[in-house]
């Protein structure tokens, strides 16, 4: 495979073209269990190569092909070069070939051979055991459990000599609980992630999945009887998973430099670095975290991915940039470009994003020990219930979306709990929507240490890549007319 890459580089150089060659092999195992029986179990390998050609006058053309057969690949290179050279009638945009530091590096985590030893039958049995454990605690709920183990390996060569190799292992355990019987049905999901394919058998993660799955099942069973929460503007507490959603949807996407010509965080295509966008004790940071679900140490162009402090104590600082967007956007190159697969064009996007708050208040114990009652007591002890006698607690992230041009964001939670001196009350989930700048400016306090294991899938421009992040256990937002809960 390396010989093929070297030959492609040689041929591209010979005709004065810049080439980025991306070879990928992603191996996936997936097991799905429902009602104690295996409903699906399969393995797959996605492998192939992407050829990105940049002409001396700045036209870019991407080509891809599965497999690594030399002859058709070399023919594809010729076709790609020809298409780039004669791109005039289409009005293909020209952009100067950016300066990129050459790099030769590799990041291969230890223990990847364990992925070859995964026994799908044993995994299915283990999922059935976990399902039984949850079902014993919460009968009458339909459970669906899945285990997915994946190694995503990339090699990236550039015609300037860059040669980068890395492999990202990621494993997930997921459970979806659906309330049953003849009553109204609700579904609630939970997940645990880690890099080790022994995840289902590891005491800590398995116990955490049982705990989260049990909570999801209890919530699914309780939601049919829960009333809607009144719509409007309230003091809010959001958990770390929702805080990840806020950081990701509301700020991360608007800080991606490929969108600066229509982002609320830029003017005339330039990032508004230095502008105040939030309270002075709040920062937003994105960086790859080793062992994390969204870990990616190098960019899709073979650059080392750097930490980006998007908001530094309330002011815009770094953007998420790639070689083509950094200079036009007036920002530092952070190597933030990712691609779903070798077939896709790399675009700047997040990895693990978090909201950090200076002077976070203590929250002893583990996050999953906090139900609404324990959180209410924590807020009471911290004096927050004196300031806000009634607080809406939004728990569990179930997806969101943003319009980066207008700054409108929306995300959905799994449940709302009204917290007050009189106790707690469960309500059905409702949408949390509004202006990103208003929401960030409303963050008043944080409780607990940072927890960064909230996972998801980001679907920017139709490309799905793993995302992750978090914040302190809980964030407190003062009410503000710029964002609201539910309808009017």
């Amino acid at each position: 495979m390396g010989d093929l890459g070297a030959e492609l580089v040689r041929r591209a150089r010979a005709v004065g073209m810049m080439l980025v060659w991306r070879a990928q092999s992603r191996s996936t195992r997936r097991v799905l269990v429902t009602g104690g029986r295996t409903e699906d179990s399969r393995g797959s390998v996605l492998s192939g190569q992407g050829l990105q050609i940049v002409t001396p006058d700045g036209r870019t053309v991407l080509a891809s092909r599965d497999g690594f057969d030399p002859d058709p690949t070399l023919a594809l290179l010729d076709r790609t070069i020809a298409a780039a050279t004669r791109g005039g009638p289409l009005g293909l945009h020209r952009q100067r070939v950016p300066e990129m530091p050459a790099l030769s590096a590799r990041e291969i985590p230890e223990g990847l051979e364990a992925f070859d030893r995964i026994d799908p039958t044993a995994a299915a049995r283990r999922l059935a055991e976990i399902e039984s454990e949850i079902a014993a605690s919460v009968p009458g709920v339909t459970l669906r459990l899945s285990f997915q183990a994946e190694v995503d390996a990339w090699r990236i060569l550039r015609s300037d000599g860059t040669d980068v190799l890395y492999a990202a292992p990621r494993c997930t355990l997921r459970v979806t609980a659906t309330s049953g019987g003849d009553r109204e049905r609700h579904s609630v999901a939970a997940a645990v992630a880690g890099p080790d394919p022994a995840l289902p058998w590891s005491d800590g993660p398995a116990a955490l999945l049982v705990r989260r799955g049990t909570a999801a099942a209890e919530l699914a069973r309780a939601l049919p009887d829960a009333p809607p929460h009144p719509a409007g503007t309230f003091p809010l507490v959001i958990d770390y998973a929702l805080a990840k959603g806020l950081a990701h949807e509301a700020f991360g996407h608007a800080a991606e430099a490929d969108g600066f010509r229509s982002s609320i965080l830029a003017r005339d295509g330039r990032f508004l670095a230095g502008q105040t966008v939030g309270a002075g004790h709040v920062s937003i940071v994105d960086e790859p975290v080793r062992g994390d679900y969204a870990w990616q140490p190098f960019s899709a162009n073979g650059l080392r991915r750097e930490r980006a402090t998007i908001v530094d104590h309330g002011r815009l600082a770094d953007a998420l940039s790639d070689p083509w967007s950094a200079e036009p956007g007036g920002v530092r190159l952070t190597g933030a470009e990712r691609a779903e697969s070798y077939r896709h064009a790399p675009i700047p996007r997040m990895s693990n994003i978090r909201i950090e708050v200076d002077g976070a208040l203590p929250a002893p114990g583990a996050f999953d020990e906090y139900g609404p009652g324990e959180l209410r007591d924590l807020l009471d002890r911290a004096g927050i219930l004196r300031r806000h006698p009634r607080i809406a607690f939004l728990s569990g992230y179930s997806g969101g979306q943003v319009n980066t041009a207008t700054g409108d964001f929306v995300f959905h939670c799994k449940a709302i709990h009204a917290l007050g001196r009189e106790g707690t009350r469960l309500h059905r989930p409702a949408i949390f929507s509004g202006s990103m700048l208003g929401a960030l400016g409303a963050i008043r306090e944080a409780l607990g240490p940072l927890l960064l294991d909230a996972i998801g899938t980001c679907g920017k421009l139709g490309q799905s890549v793993p995302s992750s992040g978090g914040s302190h256990y809980f964030l407190v937002l003062d009410p503000d007319p710029s964002f609201r809960l539910g309808g009017s």
Binding site: G43, R65, S187, P228, I347
Partner: protein
């Protein structure tokens, strides 16, 4: 040829004392050309001209001990490690008699699915794309929009399905799609097997431009409370139909994860309003959602999922048809062959009269984050227009909440016909 190599490998394969008894293999080889535009820049590094060649296959193996394996395999694995892939499949084999179905020969309908013009674009003839890009740029300039983004895609695929029971069917298809977003506000586009006529393309751009222009003006009054709301066909396709189809999915019904119970299918009791029908017709010529056979070998045929508010059948593949004791159905692949129908669709002008004091919702955020099982919805609609004196007014930023199934049962529900859209709009009352 990778497909032939895979067939040969599967037919005689055995490992650890187990041999393949029955099998089914579906493979497709595709050539594709795509071109994107980001913020007026066509073919830039973040949306480049993209030429793709791919081959992929999916297989079902039934072993002689009755266990089954399903999986996907690509060209490189077929070339260098097909035995290892099949051994891996065996290691993942599981007991599931419902999944062990391999179809034999059956009459496969002829459906026009290929357009030579699209095939030429997929092979690199870019002239038609250039003409359309030019017209988009003209429309953007006429309306004074400051930016636009979009993409155009052409593909040609050759697919073949072969089973151990004697089924051997092939099909050559094309696919054409484009979309454009003006000022980052609203998008429209087309998906089909052939290019949409240029005048239809231009009319669509014009309608989109007019709506985006209207969004520049704020409404005099923002409606609130329980109000009539018209969901634009794009909102029906991004929010209503995915929730309906998700709950009609055979696996969800069989596992008790659907809003609908298995016992409700075939029942005379309506679950939606008695004049609503949902059906699919994969035999329509040159539609994106049309096909000749499913990858499992089920011949294409029209199918009604909901007739006059009553559940007829879930969407069933072979496994869940067997599990539920029904017959496999057509699979909805695109919205252009999925038909949501009610009596006497209202023209937009009449719908505006009925929805006076409400809103036309053009786009929603968060559709994918709803609890599809309960039907409860809570959506943000930053692109909506007030309806004032039975005419479209200025922009409002709304939040919608309610329950979709209650809306689809309500007496106030109306189906609205929008020019140029096969999917209708829906008019009902909900909280704004």
């Amino acid at each position: 040829m990778p497909f032939e190599r895979l067939l040969t490998a599967i037919a005689g394969f055995g490992t650890g004392g187990a041999r393949v008894r029955d099998w089914s293999v579906y493979g497709a080889e595709t050539r594709r050309l795509a071109l994107g535009t980001r913020d007026r820049e066509t073919g830039g590094p973040h949306a480049p001209l993209n030429l793709a060649e791919s081959f992929g296959a999916q297989f079902l193996l039934v072993w002689d001990d009755g266990r089954v394996s399903a999986g996907e395999i690509d060209r490189s694995e077929i070339g260098s490690g097909v035995e290892a892939a099949l051994a891996r499949a065996r290691s993942a084999a599981y007991d599931d008699p419902d999944a062990a179905a391999v179809l034999g020969p059956a009459p496969i309908p002829e459906v026009p699915l290929h357009d030579p013009g699209v095939a030429r674009i997929a092979s690199g003839e870019a002239g038609p794309i250039a003409a359309r890009l030019e017209r988009i740029r003209e429309r953007v300039a006429e309306h004074g929009f400051w930016t636009w983004s979009g993409s155009m895609v052409a593909a040609e695929s050759r697919a073949r399905l072969v089973t151990s029971a004697g089924l051997d069917a092939g099909v050559v298809t094309t696919f054409w799609a484009w979309n454009a977003t003006f000022d980052g506000e609203l998008a429209d586009g087309f998906r089909g097997r052939a290019e949409d006529p240029f005048h239809d393309f231009d009319a669509r751009l014009l309608r989109l431009g007019n709506l985006v222009s209207r969004l520049r003006r704020p409404a005099a009054h923002a409606p609130s409370g329980l109000r009539p709301v018209i969901l634009h066909p794009h909102v029906v396709e991004s929010f209503v139909l995915p929730i309906l189809l998700g709950n009609l999915d055979g696996a969800s019904v069989a596992h008790g994860e659907s809003h609908f119970r298995a016992s409700q299918f075939g029942s005379p009791d309506p679950v939606l309003r008695e004049d609503l029908t949902l059906r699919v017709d994969p035999l329509e010529p040159l539609k994106a959602g049309s096909y000749r056979f499913t990858p499992e070998g089920v011949p294409a045929a029209a199918c009604v999922y909901v007739r006059r508010g009553r559940l007829v059948t879930p969407v069933l593949n072979l496994k869940y048809a067997r599990r539920l004791g029904w017959v496999p159905t057509a699979i909805p692949r695109e919205y252009d062959t999925l038909h949501l129908e009610g009596p006497d669709p209202l023209p937009v002008e009449d719908a505006l009269l009925e929805a006076d004091g409400g809103a036309l919702v053009l786009h929603v955020l968060g559709a994918h984050a709803q609890d599809a099982t309960s039907g409860d919805f809570s959506l943000s609609a930053p692109q909506a227009l007030a309806i004032e004196k039975a005419r479209l007014g200025g922009r409002i930023r709304a939040t919608l909440s309610g329950n979709l199934f209650a809306a689809l049962r309500s007496d106030a529900l109306r189906v609205v016909r929008f020019e140029g859209f096969p999917t209708p709009g829906l008019l009902f009352e909900c909280r704004l």
